[in-house]
Assembly symmetry: C2
Homo-oligomer: 267 residues x 2
């Protein structure tokens, strides 16, 4: 079993990812795809007059502040445009994909965090009305049910809180929780860079390997969104996933290349 | 088995529909929900600067002209905002709902109609680049799989063409095809009117009963979107569904009231 997470930033070639997945799926590999949609969500939010607001925690992690209106825009893009766009690509390739959010069947479940601590102008503030959380439980039963019946699951945030409220969760960490719960052989975190770079954005400084017990030490090299990927990788390897690979989804055969060792391999 | 279709026009009380469904589901009734999203799609399309375009066929049916950009907006609203909003309502009520489009697992399948004949300024024109069609096949296997495992399916257009392309299909007729395929005992078509009115919009002129063999004769009383509901009802009863009810989804217990005979009963 392989869990593939593909990001939502500019430059990602979803056609290439889907074509590569289709060939592997048809050869009998068990796969689950998780995707993002951050870049497109920002564009749609701007167009709808409710621009995105990002907050930085005291420990340096950046996240989207998700009020109710942002959550609805988030769902429109992640669950509507992105999810159905990917399902359609796979269907056109003859793969019977099924797209679901973490709300559906409570595939991804976690605690609703209503407030967030954010650093603004050097001061720590508490912002309320946030719809976020972290995936703590995965409904593997529904995923196994679909896989056994021949459907390729295509999953996306949001998740469900324990009360059934939609919450924005980080897609990389959700994919890590999924890989652990499914006892996946590998977790691929594909984005618009070749992997973890020692000196971002210089792509010649790609880090080829990270020993599993040293993942968190490499957080110092991670910029912005890559921090969550490194954190997700740490959670996955600690949870028993043998290989986590940060790979490039901009062209070629992103899944096959990553599994072949291109990118940054954590093992 | 009961198939409930709830429309997407102004005034529909989704909280009331979901609360009613939840009680019935928890008492052991087998249900599938299908929903629309037309009103909200119009609003979002306007806000995004790609206003809706409706065309009227020579036989008098009105439909949305669905170019690629409209299809993406349609997916954002139907599969994102509306579908996940309904799934969230049900999850909050303790119902393990699973929201899917007709693309997912090819639940709704039909032929892609790329061009549409439309009457504009008294002349018949052929418009190309349309992404529409009619549901001809239903993947009951996936729906039965979910129902058997305890999940309440919440379905929405678009459908998949036989080539896997997303196509806009009428939700009422999709629900009718679903009710026939599932051999449902009843199909409820709930919207923001009490039922079929002899003299629209005078609600005191509600038609209480329509004999199954005369449904098409009642098309003369149907305005705009109600025409597709009458057509769907005709298709459902011809396909073996014993009762089709046009009911009111604006308040109260919309499902229970309709099953109790409020609205227009076709049987």
């Amino acid at each position: 079993m392989i869990v593939v997470k593909v990001g939502g930033s500019a430059g990602i070639d979803y056609d290439a990812v889907c074509a590569d997945l289709a060939v592997r799926w048809q050869s009998g590999e068990r796969l689950v795809l998780v995707h993002g949609g951050s870049g497109e969500t920002n564009r749609v939010a701007e167009a709808l007059g409710h621009p995105p607001r990002f907050v930085t925690s005291p420990s340096g992690y950046t996240s989207r502040f998700t009020d109710r209106q942002t959550l609805e825009i988030f769902e429109m893009v992640y669950c509507g445009k992105m999810n159905k766009g990917i399902v359609e690509r796979l269907q056109r390739l003859g793969i019977n994909a099924v797209g679901l959010s973490g709300l559906d069947g409570r595939i991804f479940e976690g605690r609703h965090k209503d407030s967030v601590r954010a650093v603004e102008n050097g001061k720590v503030k508490v912002l309320r009305g946030d719809h976020t959380g972290t995936v703590e439980r995965v409904n593997t039963g529904l995923i196994e049910l679909l896989l056994s019946a021949g459907y390729l699951p295509v999953l996306t945030p949001p998740a469900a809180s324990y009360e059934g409220v939609a919450i924005n969760v980080d897609g990389d960490r959700a994919a890590a929780a999924l890989a652990v719960a499914l006892k996946a052989d590998a977790l691929l975190l594909l984005s618009n860079v070749p992997g973890l770079l020692r000196d971002y954005p210089d792509e010649t400084t790609l880090i080829r390997e990270i020993p599993a017990d040293q993942v968190e030490e490499y957080l110092t090299f991670a910029q912005d969104r890559m921090k969550k990927k490194v954190l997700g990788a740490a959670e996955a390897v600690q949870g028993g996933v043998r290989r986590v690979i940060f790979g490039d989804a901009r062209a070629g055969q992103p899944v096959t290349s990553a599994l072949g060792g291109a990118g940054t391999v954590v093992s």
